[in-house]
Structure formats: structure tokens, C-alpha cells
């Protein structure tokens, strides 16, 4: 009987090995291990065995059952695995097809630039403030120490609404508003639209954006101005840029400076962007003229301050190598979407 069991085992093992699919395997299982299977029928015959033989054969029979069950399970697993692999293979996607398009809009490049500038100054403790686009002559010129006959006041340069009301030509009137409404320490930037009588061409626009900065506190020096703008330039254009302060003239600052940065495209060796000079002018700045502070009711013997202003279009044009300022106001979606 033992022999018979081993034969069953060998037979079954052979069939298991040869089986090619799950149906065949199931058949084998039924055939050998099922209620009417070979092994079962052999076991049924165990009743005729002697008491000594019975445990011996029983052990063998259990052993054979165990081996076969294990073999069938394994064979099933293997077939399952093959089947799984087959399924995965059938589910293969062309992953090179582009993904489902998600809607994503873009901020206007001027907003992108403005946000970047603001972020830097906010991190240095500046509050963002604003002023109206239609301003008084007083805030735009008089209170900023602009000479009465300054050519920028002409109707050929400035848009007027009436004799006393104009479209601001600079964001500097926000300085006046801030000085009149706040007590030092004052530390603000004021981004916004400005207007000048320039017919639009590749480098001129009758409307443009500026960011004004103003800091008034005790003991503010020109060295502080240099330090602040140096940090700003490095944050905006990269830590490798250097700044250069050139003497200049603005009615509302004294001393005044124009600030150049080393060309961030060529690093200062000279290229198309910097017109070969290695330097690019990015902003105007200076120590706030005492007349402006006085106009704002500030004691100039106690407080001093600095102010600066920069053109957002100019910085955006430099940064993104935009060669025509009109692109900003044409609002071609293909242009704007490049700044997503």
C-alpha cells in the first residue's frame, strides 16, 4: 500500500509539473486529492490494514497529501503569477503620450516681477503701500521739492486732468502721503502705475510701473541706502552681482544716485544686454531731501531717510530679455503664458 501511495505521488507530481493552466491543475487536484480522488480511495482502503501497518501507512499517506497539496499550491501560485504578469503586460500604456491638460493660468509678467521685488523688500521689513494713479500736482511735484519750472511739469511731459490734478508721473507721491500719515519709523515700498507723455514704441510706454521705497528713522545714513539696495540687487539678480552708485540728480533726494548692477547676463564682461559696458542701470535713489521730510512734518534734525525708485518694465525686460515694451500691454496669451 505504501508502494501504491508513492506511485500516486510520483504520478501526481509528474502531472502537476506538466500542467499548463489552472483548469488542468484543478483537475489534477480533484483527481488525486478530491473526495473521490486516488489518494482518498487509497486511504479508504486503510481499514483493511493491520494495527501495526496503519500508523505507518497513515503517516506516508499524510506525507504524500502534504507534498501534493504543497506542489499544487505552488503550481497555482506560479500560474497566477504568469497570469498577473500577462495582465500587466496587456495594461501597458504609452507613457510618452502627454498628460491630461490641467488648466493653469499665468500672472502677467509685470506682476511676476513686481511680486519678486516686493517679496525681497518685505523680507527686509518693508510694508507694501499704495497711492492713487490720479494725483494732485502738490503730491507729485510741489511736495517733492520739484522746481516750479521743472520741464517734467510741462504738458508735453505730464498728463493733466486739471491745473491741479494729474496722472502721477512717478510713485514718489506715495512718499508724501506716507510721510503725512505715518510717524517714523517709516519703512514702505509703493508699487504702482505711472504715466508720462511718451508715444508708445519699443522702449517707451505712456503708462508704466514703478516701485518706490522709503525709509525714515533716526540715524539713517547713505551707507544704509547702499547696503539695502546691494542686498536687493543680489536677491533679485543673484549673489554674484555687484552694485555701483553713481552721483545723479533728483529734486527730492540729496545726495542722489543712479544705481548700476554688474550685468547679470555676461557677469560684467560686456554683452548685448548691457550694451558692452558690463553695467546695467536699474534704479534711482538718494537720501530724502529735508524739504520733502519737512513737508511731511518730520523733524529733519532728528530723522533722516532714504528713498529709491525703479521701473518694473525695465527690470522685467532685462530679466526676461523682452525687447519691446509694448508686448506687456498687448496681452497676447502666448506671451503671458510664457510666465506660468
Amino acid at each position: 500500500m505504501e508502494k501504491e501511495l508513492y506511485e500516486i505521488k510520483d504520478n501526481a507530481m509528474k502531472l502537476i509539473e506538466e500542467s499548463e493552466n489552472k483548469e488542468a491543475l484543478e483537475q489534477i487536484r480533484v483527481e488525486f486529492l478530491g473526495k473521490k480522488g486516488h489518494l482518498t480511495s487509497v486511504l479508504r482502503g486503510m481499514g483493511s490494514l493491520s494495527a501495526e501497518e496503519r500508523p505507518v501507512v497513515g503517516k506516508v499517506a499524510n506525507e504524500v497529501r502534504g507534498v501534493l497539496e504543497e506542489a499544487i499550491r505552488k503550481a497555482f501560485d506560479e500560474l497566477n503569477e504568469v497570469e498577473k504578469q500577462e495582465n500587466l503586460k496587456n495594461e501597458t500604456l504609452d507613457v510618452t503620450i502627454s498628460g491630461t491638460k490641467m488648466p493653469l493660468g499665468s500672472k502677467h509678467p509685470l506682476t511676476v516681477t513686481l511680486d519678486e521685488i516686493s517679496k525681497i523688500f518685505i523680507s527686509m521689513g518693508f510694508q507694501v503701500t499704495e497711492g492713487p494713479e490720479v494725483e494732485t500736482v502738490y503730491n507729485n511735484f510741489d511736495a517733492l521739492n520739484a522746481p516750479k519750472n521743472h520741464p517734467s511739469r510741462d504738458m508735453t511731459d505730464t498728463f493733466y486732468i486739471s491745473e491741479n490734478i494729474l496722472l502721477r508721473t512717478q510713485t514718489s507721491p506715495v512718499q508724501v502721503r506716507t510721510l503725512k500719515s505715518q510717524a517714523p519709523p517709516i519703512k514702505v515700498i509703493a508699487p504702482g502705475r505711472c504715466f508720462r507723455c511718451d508715444s508708445p514704441d519699443a522702449t517707451h510706454s505712456p503708462m508704466f510701473h514703478q516701485v518706490e521705497g522709503l525709509l525714515v528713522d533716526k540715524g539713517i545714513t547713505m551707507a544704509d541706502l547702499k547696503g539695502t539696495l546691494d542686498i536687493f540687487a543680489k536677491q533679485l539678480f543673484g549673489s554674484q552681482v555687484k552694485t555701483k552708485f553713481r552721483p545723479h540728480y533728483f529734486p527730492f533726494t540729496e545726495p542722489s544716485a543712479e544705481v548700476d548692477v554688474t550685468c547679470f547676463k555676461c557677469g560684467g564682461s560686456g554683452c548685448r544686454v548691457c550694451k558692452g559696458s558690463g553695467w546695467i542701470e536699474i534704479l534711482g535713489a538718494g537720501m530724502v531731501h529735508p524739504n520733502v521730510l519737512k513737508e511731511g512734518g518730520i523733524d529733519t534734525e532728528v530723522y533722516s531717510g532714504f528713498a529709491f525708485g525703479m521701473g518694473v518694465e525695465r527690470i522685467a525686460m532685462l530679466k526676461y530679455e523682452v525687447d519691446d515694451i509694448r508686448l506687456f500691454y498687448e496681452n497676447d496669451m502666448r506671451f503671458i503664458e510664457q510666465f506660468r
Binding site: 488648466p103 493653469l104 493660468g105 499665468s106 500672472k107 502677467h108 509685470l110 506682476t111 511680486d115 523680507s123 521689513g125 518693508f126 510694508q127 507694501v128 492713487p132 494713479e133 490720479v134 494725483e135 516750479k148 519750472n149 498728463f159 486732468i161 486739471s162 491741479n164 496722472l167 519709523p185 519703512k187 502705475r193 504715466f195 507723455c197 508715444s199 505712456p206 503708462m207 525709509l215 528713522d217 539713517i220 545714513t221 547713505m222 551707507a223 544704509d224 547702499k226 542686498i231 555701483k244 552708485f245 553713481r246 552721483p247 545723479h248 540728480y249 540729496e254 545726495p255 542722489s256 544716485a257 537720501m287 529735508p290 533722516s304 500691454y329 497676447d332 496669451m333 503671458i336 503664458e337
Partner: protein, 796 residues
């Protein structure tokens, strides 16, 4: 301001070896910004002095001449088109293989059968600008002023090597519109003392009293009037050195007398004018305002109508010069002029500016007067002019000067606190060191304790008070040499709530695929007509510009819709299939206050596949929800002429109107010539801001399960879903958790004029598990109410 370096070097010693770049850098960093450098004589090769031996007509070309020139080493035959060349003239000759400025190479060539062995040059070809070459030789060859050695290099003969620097002069420094002014700056930079030009006249005769007297009737408009007389005038061309100097300084030579007045103007910054004394009657100059509507012909031959604010130079009978602007044609220097009066006067800046502006006549003189000139220059300038005329042997100077200077301007002395300068510049200079900085700028400095008493040169009209000396110290010390520090003090930076909210709106719109645009604040008044803005709308009242660039930018916008339409149409016309855009910007509404009301408005616009009314509405709802404005009502608006009457709604929230949304009316679309459906929404951002609430509060998650029930009804077409939903919500009460519209169907199974509307309702109780019975009761109530109130029929 064009400054030839050789001229500058007459007044200030500079190291001859200093590199041009170094010179420029130092000048820039001390405050004299440079706009450009022109190097005369660069690129000229194999151009020599030649003498014309023969001038013949070209046998086969009427307009050409065949010239034989001797250049010392050989005789060359050259064909030229110029007709101002004569036998024995000395001319510049480019030999074949020679070069002219701008990389022009001259080669031997045949002109109508005759070989030309080079070229004769004009002044322009040697590098002088068309705007400065004397009119007489503009069209011809430059005839040399004397017999230079034949074959001599033209650069050497005419001393063509010159570097001219173009300085940018800021409005506060009119004194720098002169060689002396720039020399003063250079002297400060290069530690030198300024050398003044000679004004010593060798020989004077006669007495000016026999010729002229001066009267100033308007001393407030003419601070000083100085004049001298020169007789035995011989008008001729100026010598080459003078012509070249003027040309390299940007001034066209005219004749010796005019050239001298221009030379002195460039040298001192003092405009001058020469009258032919023959035509000055009564031996008198009277400075007075003109009569109203007085006619006067200026040098340029134009008759001008003056008014009683304009200052006029008169003789005993008539006007002879428009003060500070232009001389009169009646007293102009002519070729036969024999005796001249040289005017060196100081006219009021504002008055000159006003006259020049009213007449639309801007001259070199008026441009200088209107910026302000030191009256103390008059005397030196007139003497210098006489000195030069004598030197040029162009006349004999009459002795004596008439000098009317009613209120002499004394040099100012200003107290400057060294401590203050040091504090603002973060320096620790001693008073001695500081005084030295000022002395370098030709200032007289007296030290008293910690203070400096500074007397600047009188030409420095910009230095009036202590603060003006701060920049002088800073720039001579060098901005570069100042410390770099970070401001002390700790102030918190950030944005206002309103700015934050604008940013959130922008970010949200970007997230739903809308691009931001920026358009002009000034627009055409026609825009509101284009969008058919209702006639009664307050948005038709504009804040108008007095001096717009054109009608299309003549009023401040009152709505952002026209600009949005233009942008969308521009994109549509560029074959961009679909677009969605927004703008967040100010509009301008007239107000009774000093300034117009300038609130912020938000506009959205979209066209193209998928960008329909509901898409735009979804975008708007997303934005409103994001900033805490939930359940804004969209109330149908049937009468706004900008929009499609059946596709437009006012957006209401807590009894205020936030804005309007709709599809553009076909008539408006036609106005813009856009043939796709376009949707627009404009929102009052100020109102949104007032109602926004971005605070978040946690709402507990549901503890008990929900029961879902669908409901589908057939209802008349004109019933708004809002009506259905409000009934559902009303009847659903506390246990109705969510109502979602999932289908609207019109078609076969539904009667004409009806629609099938289907909702998914979610019931849930916060405190217990609902039973089917409880839900069934409420659900039935809803169905009944829809039936009774709206005539809805339940669909199965």
C-alpha cells in the same frame, strides 16, 4: 554737452597718459555722467594734403570733373563730382588703399572711362557731422585753409585727432553747460587748480561812450546788461582751429564774429549776441518788455507776434533783439558789417522760458538762460570775446565797457556743520579733510570749530543751503568709498489685508486656468459705446485728460470691460482658439472730492471651446468661495444692453451687487467683429473686499451615515433651478445635508416647453442614524411641495 578733451586741457592740467576710459570712469563717479565718446581721426589712413594742379571737365559726364593733384611724392588724377575745387586749392586726398572713418576703404576705380586714383574728401568724409559742417562746404570738398606741406598726413595737418566726450548735464548743474564748468569738475577730480582763459586785450582805441548807452527798464527780468563795441570789423571765415573746435563741440561755424560769440558761449556758458551797430539807432539800448501784439522779425526771418510779458532789446526806435532767445533780422551781422555791439547779458530764467515756449522758439541761448546763469559771467565773457576778435585780427576793440548791473549779486557764504555731513554719510572726516574736499571744487572754506563756512563759486547757482553741500562732499569723497551697512531697527514688513486678498484672487484665477492681463488706465470714450453701456450709466461720466496722446487714450476708464473685449478680440484675431483672462485694476469715477474715486475692479473674460457662461460662472464662484463669499445669488438680468438678455445675471450678496456676469450681446460682438460667443464678468473688488472672510473654522466631520435619494422632475422650461432648489432646501430642513443638480434633460421623453431636472439629495442627521422612514417622510414632502408650488411632475 560735447566737450573736446583738448579744449578741457587748456584750463586743467591732466596727466597726458591718462587712459580715456580711466578719465571717463573718474568723471562719471564724481557726478559727471557720460553718454558717449566720439573719437575724431579714428579710422583715417593714407589721407594726405594735395594741391590742385588742374581742373578739367570730364569728357563723357557733365557732372564730373577730372582733377590733377600733387601730393608731393606724385601727381594723381582723380575724378570727382564736387564743383567747388579750383586750381591751387589745397585739399585732402585719399590715396587708393586708404581708409575713411566708419571702415570705408577707397580703391582705384574707373568713372565713365577715366581711372580715378583715389578721392578728394569732404569734411563729412573726414568724420564731421552733417549738422556742424559749414553750409558753404556741405555739398563739396573741404578746401584747406592754407598751404600745408604736400603729402603731409591730413591727421597731422588738420590736427584731426580729438576725443569729444558727451556729458549728461543734470538740471541742477547749468554751470556745467560750459567748458569752464566741466574743467572745474575735472580739476576737482584730478587735484588741479583751474586756469582761466585770458581776457587781456592788447590794444583798445576810442571810447564806447561815443557809441552806446544802456538802459534797463525791467531790472527784475534783466539782472545785468554788459556790452562792448568792436570796430573795423572784417567778416570772414574763422581759422581752422576755431572751426574745428566748434564742430567737435557740436556747433556749426558761420563767420569769425558769430563763431567767436559761440566759442565764448561754449567756454563760459554765457550766451552772447552781436548787433551791427549801423542799424542800432539813437546809440541806445533799452531793455524793456514788448508792446502787446508787437510784430518782430527774428534772425531766422520769421515774423513773430510778441506780448507784453516778453522782454525785448530795443534801440531808440525799435526792437532789435528778443532778449535771451534770438536777435532781430534788422540788426544782423552781414558781410559788410563794420562796427558791432557785443551783448553779454543776464536775462531772467522763467521769463526766457515763457517767451521761448509761447513763441515755440528754442535756441541754444534760450535753453541756457532758462536753466539759470550767473550774472557775474557777463563781464569776463564779453572781454574774452573782444580778446578773441583781436587775436583773429577781425576788428579793433573800442575801449570802455557799458555794464548795467543794478543789483550786484555777492557771493554767498553758507554754514555747513561737519558733524551733520559725517552723520548722514556715516563718515568720520575731520573738518580739515572735509574743507579740502570743498576746496577742490574751487570753494572758499573757512573753518570755525566744527563748522565750515563755505563760499562756492558764484556760478554754482545750485548751492544754497547746507543740504546742497552734502552731495558735494559725498561725490568728491566718492560714493564708492562710503560704507555699506544695513539699517538698524526692526520693523515688520508685509502686505495689507486688501493686497493679500488681491493676491489670493489672482492665485485662484490662475489655478482655474485664467491668465492675468494689464491694460492702459486711459482709454477711448468710445469704449462704452462699443459695449453698449446703458445711456443712463454713471460709467459714461469720465475723468478726462487735458492733453491726451490721442482720442484712444483720452479718458480714464470707468469699467474694465472695453479693454477686456479689445484684448480678447486681439487674441481671437491672432488665431488663438480660446482664451480666458482677468484684470484687476483701478477704474476712475468723477467725484466731488479733490481727486476722483479710484476703486479697484475685477474683470474676467473668456471665449472659445468650453469657455461658456457656466464655465465663467464656475470661475467666479470658485474665486468668491475661496475668499469666503459663499452662496452669492445670481439674479437674472434681462435689460443690460452689453449682455445677452437671456444669459446675464447680477451677482448679489447680502443685499449688495458685487457685479454682473453674462454672455456678450450679439450686437456688442458685432461691434468688435468677434464671431465666437464671449463671456464677461465684472466685479466691484471694493465690495468683495468688504464682504470677504478668509478666516477658516473647522466644522466637525459627520459621525452618522448619510442616506442618498435622487429626485427627477419634469417642469416648465422657464422655471429657474434656483426656485426648485429653494423649495427643496426649505422642505428638506435640518436633515438635508446636500443638494446636487446632476442632470437637465430636454428631448424625446419630455414634452416640448418642459425640461427634466434631476437632483441627488443627501440626508444626514448630526446626532443620530436616520431611518428610511424619517427620510421618506421628508423626501415626500419635497416632492409634494415641488408639485404644488411649481407644477412639477415626478419622473420615474
Amino acid at each position: 554737452m560735447l566737450v573736446p578733451i583738448s579744449w578741457l586741457k587748456e584750463y586743467v592740467k591732466m596727466d597726458d597718459n591718462i587712459e580715456l576710459k580711466d578719465f571717463c570712469d573718474k568723471m562719471i563717479m564724481s557726478g559727471s555722467n557720460i553718454e558717449g565718446v566720439h573719437e575724431y581721426g579714428e579710422g583715417i589712413k593714407k589721407v594726405v594734403v594735395g594741391k590742385v594742379l588742374k581742373v578739367e571737365k570730364h569728357p563723357d559726364a557733365d557732372a564730373l570733373f577730372v582733377i590733377t593733384v600733387d601730393i608731393g611724392s606724385e601727381e594723381l588724377v582723380i575724378v570727382t563730382g564736387a564743383d567747388n575745387v579750383h586750381k591751387d586749392d589745397y585739399v585732402p586726398v585719399v590715396q587708393s588703399g586708404g581708409w575713411l572713418p566708419g571702415g570705408v576703404k577707397i580703391k582705384k576705380g574707373k568713372l565713365r572711362g577715366i581711372v580715378s586714383n583715389g578721392m578728394l574728401c569732404s569734411a563729412q568724409e573726414l568724420g564731421f557731422g552733417d549738422n556742424v559742417v559749414p553750409s558753404a562746404i556741405k555739398e563739396g570738398i573741404l578746401i584747406l585753409d592754407k598751404a600745408y606741406p604736400l603729402g603731409m598726413d591730413i591727421i597731422e595737418a588738420l590736427k584731426l585727432k580729438e576725443e569729444t566726450i558727451e556729458f549728461e548735464i543734470t538740471p541742477n548743474r547749468p554751470d556745467c553747460l560750459s567748458m569752464m564748468g566741466m574743467a572745474r569738475e575735472a580739476a576737482a577730480v584730478f587735484y588741479d587748480t583751474l586756469k582761466y582763459p585770458s581776457t587781456i586785450i592788447e590794444h583798445e582805441t576810442d571810447d564806447i561812450k561815443n557809441y552806446i548807452s544802456i538802459e534797463i527798464n525791467k531790472p527784475e527780468l534783466c539782472k545785468r546788461y554788459t556790452a562792448r563795441v568792436v570796430k573795423d570789423i572784417k567778416i570772414k571765415e574763422s581759422p581752422w582751429w576755431l572751426q574745428k573746435r566748434l564742430m567737435t563741440s557740436g556747433v556749426r561755424p558761420i563767420n569769425n564774429i558769430v563763431d567767436v560769440t559761440n566759442y565764448v558761449m561754449l567756454e563760459y556758458g554765457q550766451p552772447m549776441h552781436a548787433f551791427d551797430l549801423r542799424y542800432v539807432s539813437g546809440s541806445k539800448i533799452i531793455v524793456d518788455t514788448a508792446a502787446d501784439k508787437q510784430k518782430f522779425i527774428t534772425l531766422d526771418g520769421t515774423e513773430r507776434q510778441l506780448d507784453s510779458d516778453m522782454l525785448l532789446i530795443n534801440d531808440a526806435e525799435k526792437g532789435v533783439g528778443l532778449a535771451g532767445v534770438m536777435g532781430g533780422l534788422n540788426s544782423e551781422i552781414k558781410d559788410d558789417t563794420n562796427c558791432i555791439l557785443i551783448e553779454s547779458a543776464n536775462f531772467d530764467a522763467d521769463n526766457t522760458r515763457m517767451t521761448s515756449k509761447k513763441l515755440g522758439l528754442r535756441t541754444e541761448a534760450s535753453a541756457r538762460y532758462e536753466k539759470g546763469i550767473d550774472p557775474n559771467l557777463c563781464l569776463d565773457a564779453v572781454n574774452r570775446a573782444c580778446k578773441l576778435i583781436e587775436e583773429l585780427e577781425a576788428g579793433t576793440v573800442v575801449s570802455g565797457i557799458v555794464d548795467a548791473y543794478p543789483n550786484i549779486e555777492e557771493p554767498r557764504k553758507i554754514k555747513v556743520r561737519a558733524e551733520r555731513i559725517n552723520a548722514l554719510l556715516n563718515l568720520k572726516m575731520s573738518t580739515d579733510e572735509m574743507a579740502d574736499l570743498y576746496r577742490r571744487l574751487e570753494m572758499v572754506v573757512e573753518e570755525k570749530g566744527n563748522d565750515l563756512y563755505i563760499q562756492p563759486p558764484t556760478v554754482r547757482l545750485d548751492l544754497k543751503e547746507e543740504i546742497d553741500f552734502l552731495e558735494e562732499a559725498a561725490r568728491i569723497y566718492g560714493y564708492d568709498n562710503l560704507d555699506v551697512t544695513v539699517p538698524k531697527g526692526n520693523v515688520q514688513g508685509g502686505r495689507s489685508r486688501k493686497q493679500d486678498l488681491q493676491n489670493i484672487v489672482k492665485e485662484t484665477l490662475m489655478a482655474v486656468g485664467v491668465n492675468e492681463i494689464q491694460t492702459y488706465s486711459f482709454v477711448s470714450p468710445k469704449g462704452v459705446d462699443m459695449i453698449k453701456m446703458p445711456e443712463v450709466s454713471i460709467k459714461r461720466n469720465f475723468v478726462k485728460l487735458m492733453n491726451p496722446l490721442g482720442e484712444e487714450n483720452s479718458v480714464m476708464r470707468t469699467t474694465l470691460i472695453p479693454n477686456m473685449m479689445e484684448t480678447l478680440v486681439r487674441n481671437y484675431n491672432r488665431n488663438i482658439g480660446k482664451a480666458a483672462a482677468f484684470e484687476l485694476g483701478r477704474v476712475f469715477l468723477p467725484s466731488h472730492e479733490e481727486l476722483p474715486h479710484q476703486p479697484i475692479s475685477l474683470v474676467l473674460g473668456a471665449y472659445g471651446h468650453g469657455n461658456d457662461f457656466y464655465k465663467l460662472k464656475g470661475m467666479v464662484e470658485t474665486v468668491l468661495n475661496k475668499i469666503g463669499i459663499r452662496d452669492a445669488e445670481f439674479e437674472p438680468e434681462l435689460n443690460h444692453s452689453t449682455f445677452h438678455p437671456g444669459r446675464c445675471a447680477n451677482i448679489l450678496y447680502k443685499d449688495t451687487c458685487l457685479g454682473i456676469i453674462g454672455e456678450i450681446h450679439p450686437d456688442v460682438a458685432e461691434n468688435y467683429d468677434i464671431s465666437v460667443r464671449t463671456c464677461i464678468c465684472e466685479l466691484d473688488f471694493e465690495n468683495i473686499f468688504k464682504n470677504a472672510n478668509i478666516e477658516k473654522i473647522y466644522f466637525p466631520l459627520p459621525k452618522y451615515p448619510a442616506i442618498d435619494r435622487d429626485i427627477a422632475i419634469v417642469i416648465e422650461e422657464q422655471v429657474y433651478v434656483k426656485e426648485i432648489e429653494s423649495i427643496i432646501k426649505e422642505q428638506g430642513g435640518k436633515i438635508l445635508d446636500k443638494v446636487e443638480l446632476f442632470d437637465i434633460y430636454r428631448g424625446k421623453q419630455v414634452k416640448e416647453g418642459y425640461k427634466s431636472v434631476a437632483y441627488a439629495l443627501t440626508y444626514r442627521d448630526a446626532d443620530k442614524t436616520l431611518t428610511d422612514e424619517e427620510v421618506g417622510k421628508v423626501h415626500l414632502r419635497i416632492v409634494e411641495a415641488l408639485k404644488n408650488q411649481l407644477g412639477a411632475v415626478l419622473r420615474d
